[in-house]
């Protein structure tokens, strides 16, 4: 069985760059345009994973394991974040019977 870095290197590096840029921009647009808190949340995850892909690709191409380690850290942080974030969303839903972020405008001035 081939080594995983070798598998990754079967695709040219530029493609990874195009792909994760596209994924990241989709995430940003999703965060900016959607109103449902859960969808916004998913878009944030999308951005994080776009970065993960890029890190893994560079790590393989440069034969440097640091990037992969970084990926694991990001995954762990994302998992923790999801945990807290979803809990907040549940609480929002209980209070507002909705997850629309535009209704959350009481904290001002």
């Amino acid at each position: 069985m081939n080594q995983i870095p070798e598998v990754i290197r079967t695709v040219p590096l530029e493609y990874y760059l195009y792909f994760s840029s596209a994924l990241f921009v989709i995430g940003i647009i999703g965060v900016l345009t959607r109103r449902n808190a859960i969808v916004i949340f998913m878009c944030v995850e999308l951005m994080l994973n776009a970065v993960n892909i890029l890190l893994a690709a560079f790590s393989a191409y440069r034969s440097d394991p640091t990037g992969q380690v970084f990926v694991f850290f990001i995954m762990a942080v994302a998992a923790a974040e999801v945990c807290v974030g979803l809990a907040i969303i549940v609480m929002i839903y209980r209070n507002l019977r909705s997850t629309d972020v535009q209704l959350l405008n009481h904290l001002k001035w």
């Binding site: 965060v31 972020v101 535009q102 405008n105």
Partner: protein, 653 residues
Amino acid sequence: MQEIVMPFDKQEMALLCLLIPLLPFIGFAINGLGNRKLPKGLVGLLGCGTVLASFLIAVYLFMDFTSGGSRPYTVSIYDWISVGRLQIGFSFLIDQLTLFMLLMVTGIGFLIHVYSAGYMSHDENYGKFFAYLNLFMFSMLLLVMGSNYVMMFVGWEGVGLCSYLLIGFWNKNTNYNNAAKKAFVMNRIGDLGFLLGIFLIFITFGSVSYPEVFASAAQTPGLNGSTVMISITLLLFVGAMGKSAQIPLFTWLPDAMAGPTPVSALIHAATMVTAGIYMVVRSNVLFIMAPTTLEFIAVIGLATALLAATIGLAQNDIKKVLAYSTVSQLGYMFLALGVMAFSSSLFHVLTHAFFKALLFLGAGSVIHAMSNEQDIRNMGGLRKALPITFLTFLIGTLAISGIPPFAGFFSKDELLAHVFMHSKVMWFFGLLASFMTSFYMFRLLFLTFFGSFRGTEAQRHHLHESPAVMTIPLIVLAILATFGGFLGIPAVFGADHFIGNYLSPLYTYAKGINATPFEPIHLSHETEYLLMGISVAVAVVAIIIAYVMYVKKNTVPAPEDARLAPAHNLVYHKYYIDELYNALIVRPLMWMSGAFHRFVDVVLVDGVVNGVGKFVMLSGRTLRYAQSGAIGFYLMVMVFSIVLILFLNFFIG
């Protein structure tokens, strides 16, 4: 070159020496903390007992000192300040002068403490009063016992503080508080001079401890009459001017009579105000090297003696008369210092302490009997109601007037003889002041104790002799005022001058520089008898005039609103000196303070401080609209900001 005699170290006396100032301090701490909680009897016992113990220790030290061959010694307790060249030890110097002052301060202090126990018995702040008195004793003892100028300064400031606290003791009265502030501020002016003098001493001699400074001054003949010596002594004398109420810093002392009468007796007559004289005598080596300063001191002393005596002629407040007489007598003492009669000056300090404390306490007894009336126009005929007070007051008055054989005669006569040798003109003016002193003191006596009672009916019913706790100190002081003069019987009567002989080792260095002033009075016996005769005659004439005016003719000083002859008016209003100071110094200072307040403080300082606050408030009020509460907006701002940062980072960084 001078032979140097350094005081030796006598460490075994450390505990006793330390106890002398420490005991009153313990009394202060207990009475001060237990004010209104401790029973009055205990407070009085503590207050008087600690001072009595100090007195007894001082007596023991004196015995030990004289039996040990009268050799001065130092006792060091610990190193207090040690910075580079500056070494200041917390140590005591025990010599003739220290013991002299110690015995006087603790002895008279004890009597006045006892008297206070009776005089203040109706006051609710009895504990506070005794605490302050004890603190005063502590500071005064530190002042006279310290072995360097810095310790003297600590005591000097301490007595100033206590003077302030006690003048304003009845602090519900604004006038009294103002009097206290006046005393404090005027003393600060003098203290600044004293402090600068100490700095200059340190710069010149590299030390502030008495033995070292005096030895090095005596060993440097080049300093004799030099500018630096004149500067040092003048600065020290400025300090003495403030503390001992000399022109131009004397106006606080008459106002200081706002305090309770025992305070006037202890602080503003017998002890604190003589600190200036103590300082000059202590530094006699330095002063003898600055003849210019001495001449200046003599002139100031004489001017003060005359000025205060003339003001005393027209005052109607029993304590004010005594206050001006104190200022006048202090002027005398400085006159004596100026003509280098140091021992005579100290002798007068001692006798003055006896008779002036007696007079003040007598006045206190009168005020007590008259239910706090102080105006002699409302007294009269108190002789029968207050026999003991009258008799003791009479002795005090005779003593201050210089009638033999009372104490004042010997000291004043010796003093005037020295002045006579120095300058005939000064002697004449001194005699004039002495004439006025006898006149106003007997005016006071006659108006208070003779004639008919002029007070209200209620006061007449209340008249009573003071309790024994007040009369016994009066009697003791009267005995001292009668016989105290025998400590210094002049050689012309064929006796040893005890005080003069006892104090003479103090001037060993000074004699090496200028021996003339320390030789015995070399007047012929006829001249000396003549001088005595003249001064007694002058006093007797003054008494007769006072008798004719106030007993035979029954003159009563004009009431407050009467029109007075111009000269009388001028003297009655104390030459308008207070008004002059107000116009020349107080008003401009007040105006400047007001101007600084309006422009610097309100506009500049407050402007900056409030401006910063206003700016923060304003920007906060404006920027808060950015926090709209719309999450979508926040997210957008965040994204665009990150993009902007990346953008800037890419193109600029």
